[in-house]
């Protein structure tokens, strides 16, 4: 039965290759039927990949351990949920999953454009099919999930305990959704290059795809941080690990792209730059996959060093780089800008600076990540660079960005006048200085933390003022109540207002990062009944009393749980538990931390060591000595809240109907919108 999946994959691979050739040939020679046939093969590939992925999932659910992939990532005791997610638990399956997602997006694109953008579509579907064929080719020739072993073990090896976590099951798919969705604007950029139509059409038509890709990529990265925070067990959420960096690279260029396209839409500038940014974003997402899969760079979560895969990826990457560069060179005369930069103090100037910051961050992260390879290539000795390098460069860049976030959206296009600057920035600067003064007086002396709050307050105020002005003028003109006016304001020009919300989330998240400057940590060995204390930077003290240790068996493991009573300044504040899980199938231990989450900080409890853990498991020693490590992590909850606000903002911008494309049917309403527009212009002018 399961082999149907492999047959389907072969057919899909051949169809994708054939369809890809047909699409490009049909486009160049103007053969409509060829193009149509290629577009149909996109749907067929999607159908076949559903069959193939379904077969893999079925093999997991039916415990078919003759398959190497199933045996390696599952066992009989594993819950149904983790068996289904087995599709993307390992290298080979996740590549099939990747192709499935891409095929889904490709089908949607072909369907959306069945009657429009016809001059682009041959090259769009051609590009999508080539990328699809590549991923399926990797699976078939280098990493086949349908590979049978020459014997069938009675049970599988089970899933790595660290992956048996909710965030870990949704983190990879979310990231893949982001990477694959960026293929769509990439394909349109290629189509624009080949067809020579380099106006804004390819950008406006993929605007929502770009936002969707950004939405998934951003959330994928944040989910990964959440996973690291609860599962890696030392209170951190970002380690500048190569694999993390790899996912950050396309995010940085993608975010730059999201901003610079606005300059092209409004002012007809930066045409070549935008093409380069989207090409770069796609190339970097392929590069990220390559880096993750090849095991070329030492990483905590590297996959096995697989030379075949490395070479295939490297080959494809070189192919893409050469083709992209050749296309851009070929069309080099078609990028003539319609306007020029009139003043550095303008929205264009702010956006250009924003782009510069993102690119600088991307290049330094890339440099630091690749440095072990570069140094080994040149000097013969591997030299690694650690977090201090990444922090030294990226914290100042992040702070610069935080300030730009407040300036960019409100500064005037073309050339800001002194009056424009004074009117827009007096209040925010005042608020920022006040916040800085209050923090200074309450003893905050850490430079970066202080700067984060001051710049954050500045940016937050500009956003609030923007919303306030818009809401008030709308309420006045429409005669609406303020809440209604606010909702209507959000509905109009959603990209702009959604963008402000994303910026607000970004500010909140950065304040969460700044909390790390005030982390505190205590470590102590306790007998049952004994206490330890830890002070919070907010001034209060936690007292933790080690109550008891218990052991009990669960489905596929034995849990050893330490329970601790928490008191905050002497008042009871709940119970925290921290566990060690001993998995029966894999002879591995996994620690589970206990986290007490408050609005302003996390109390983070690590069960660092148990004296005589065997005695606890066997029930002979119920009162072991335990070593706890306790951290107070100020403002960490704000990181997740900021992420959530960013997600909501992106959804506001993404929601269908954002463009006011309706014809002028209702006249009075149009008049009002015009007046609100005029007001917005006034603010900008």
């Amino acid at each position: 039965m399961t082999q149907i999946g492999e047959v389907a994959l072969w057919v899909a691979f051949i169809l994708a290759l054939w369809g890809g050739v047909l699409a490009f040939a049909g486009g160049r020679r103007g053969r409509g039927t060829w193009v149509l046939s290629a577009e149909r093969s996109v749907y067929a590939v999607f159908g076949l990949l559903i069959v193939s992925s379904g077969a893999i999932i079925a093999a997991f659910v039916r415990n078919e351990y003759g398959y190497k992939y199933v045996a390696g990532y599952s066992n009989r005791e594993l819950s149904l949920f983790y068996k289904i997610t087995g599709l993307w638990a390992g290298q080979t399956g996740s590549l099939v999953f990747w192709a499935l997602l891409l095929a889904l997006f490709s089908s949607i694109v072909v369907w959306q454009n069945r009657r429009k953008n016809r001059e682009f579509m041959p090259y769009v579907s051609g590009t999508l099919l080539v990328v699809l064929a590549f991923f399926m080719g990797v699976v078939l020739f280098a990493s086949n999930p349908f590979q049978l072993m020459d014997f069938t073990p009675a049970d599988g090896r089970g899933l790595n305990p660290q992956l048996q976590n909710y965030w870990m099951t949704i983190h990879p798919p979310t990231l893949y959704l982001g990477f694959t969705a960026f293929t769509v604007p990439f394909a349109f950029a290629v189509a624009a290059l080949i067809s020579g139509r380099l106006d804004t059409r390819w950008i406006t038509t993929t605007r929502r795809w770009t936002l969707l890709a950004w939405f998934f990529l951003t959330n994928g990265i944040i989910f990964g941080m959440m996973w690291a925070y609860v599962e890696l067990g030392w209170g951190g959420y970002w380690f500048w690990d190569p694999v993390e960096n790899a996912s950050l690279l396309p995010w940085l260029t993608g975010t730059a792209f999201l901003h610079s396209v606005m300059i092209q839409e409004k002012r007809g500038m930066l045409k070549m730059w935008n093409v380069l940014l989207i090409l770069g974003t796609f190339l970097l997402s392929i590069f990220a996959t390559f880096l993750t899969r090849s095991g070329l760079i030492e990483s905590v979560h590297s996959f096995a060093q697989n030379l075949t895969i490395s070479w295939i990826f490297l080959g494809f990457l070189s192919f893409l780089v050469i083709v992209s560069a050749a296309l851009v060179w070929w069309r080099r005369d078609a990028f003539e800008p319609e306007n020029r930069l009139e003043s550095a103090v303008s929205r264009e100037g702010a956006f250009l600076l924003n782009n510069l910051v993102f690119i600088a961050a991307m290049l330094t992260v890339l440099w630091g990540t690749m440095f072990p390879l570069i140094s080994e290539g040149i000097t013969g000795t591997k030299i690694t660079v650690g977090p201090p390098f990444f922090n030294r460069v990226n914290i100042p860049l992040g702070l610069l960005l935080l300030g730009l976030l407040g300036i960019g959206p409100v500064i005037a296009w073309r050339k800001a006048t002194g009056r424009n600057l004074v009117r827009n920035f007096t209040t925010p600067v005042g608020v920022a200085l006040a916040v800085g003064a209050v923090l200074w007086l309450s003893g905050v002396r850490h430079t970066y933390a202080l700067l984060t709050f001051v710049l954050g307050a500045f940016t937050m105020t500009t956003i609030v003022v923007e919303f306030w002005k818009g809401t008030r003028s709308r309420a006045r003109i429409e005669g609406e109540g303020l809440p209604v006016a606010f909702v209507h304001l959000m509905q109009r020009n959603r990209r702009r207002h959604g963008g402000y919300v994303v910026h607000a989330g970004f500010v909140v998240m950065f304040m969460g990062f700044a909390g790390a400057a005030y982390d505190t940590e205590e470590q102590m060995s306790l007998r049952p009944g004994e206490q330890m204390k830890i002070a919070s930077p907010f001034g209060h003290t936690y007292t933790l009393t080690y109550q008891a240790m218990s052991a009990y068996p669960a489905t596929n493991m034995t849990k050893v749980i330490a329970s601790v009573n928490v008191a905050k300044d002497g008042r009871p504040a709940g119970v925290l538990t921290a566990e060690k899980r001993s998995y029966r199938q894999r002879e591995e231990v996994a620690s589970e931390v206990g986290i007490r989450r408050a609005w302003n900080e996390d109390l983070y409890l690590i069960l660092a060591g148990i004296d005589d853990i065997n005695g606890v498991v066997q029930g002979t020693n119920p009162r072991p000595i335990v070593t706890f490590k306790v951290l107070v992590q100020p403002l960490v909850p704000w990181i997740w809240v900021g992420g959530l606000i960013m997600a909501i903002g992106t959804l506001v911008a993404l929601w269908p109907g954002a463009e006011p494309a309706r014809p002028a049917a209702v006249k009075p309403k149009l008049r009002v919108e015009k007046m609100v527009d005029a007001d917005a212009e006034l603010v900008e002018a």
């Binding site: 390992g90 992956l163 550095a344 510069l356 390098f389 030294r392 060591g609 490590k629």
Partner: protein
Amino acid sequence: MKKQSRFMAGALVLVGVVGYLAVTGMKDSMMYYYTPDELATKVAADPSVRDLGAKMGGRVVPGSVQYDARTLDLRFTIVDIASGRTTFPVAHNGPLPDTFEEGRDVVVEGRLAADGTFQATTVLTKCGSRYEAVEEDFRA
């Protein structure tokens, strides 16, 4: 045109600052990555290499692990994966990583003390479990 050159000047300043930060950041966090064989050779040739600090990738020698769950003191012997010859005793204080076990490949970061013990500030285990050849595992 003058406006554009002013913008370019600003951009150059930014690039310069980032470059300066990157170079100083590199100097502060650069660390040689050795195998036990390489570290032994380097130190034999020039004892001052000790003071630089390094990362070392090797394998935990079975039977060598001593861990005090109260003080969180960890001691084990690391051996060169390729040659299996050079060994170093490693000392570390901190919670035992979940995936740490005998025979596992680890990366330690720290410096080689005068008594020949590698004082590690961090011990990273490679998540080999996820990626080992499954078949070998079953045969064993």
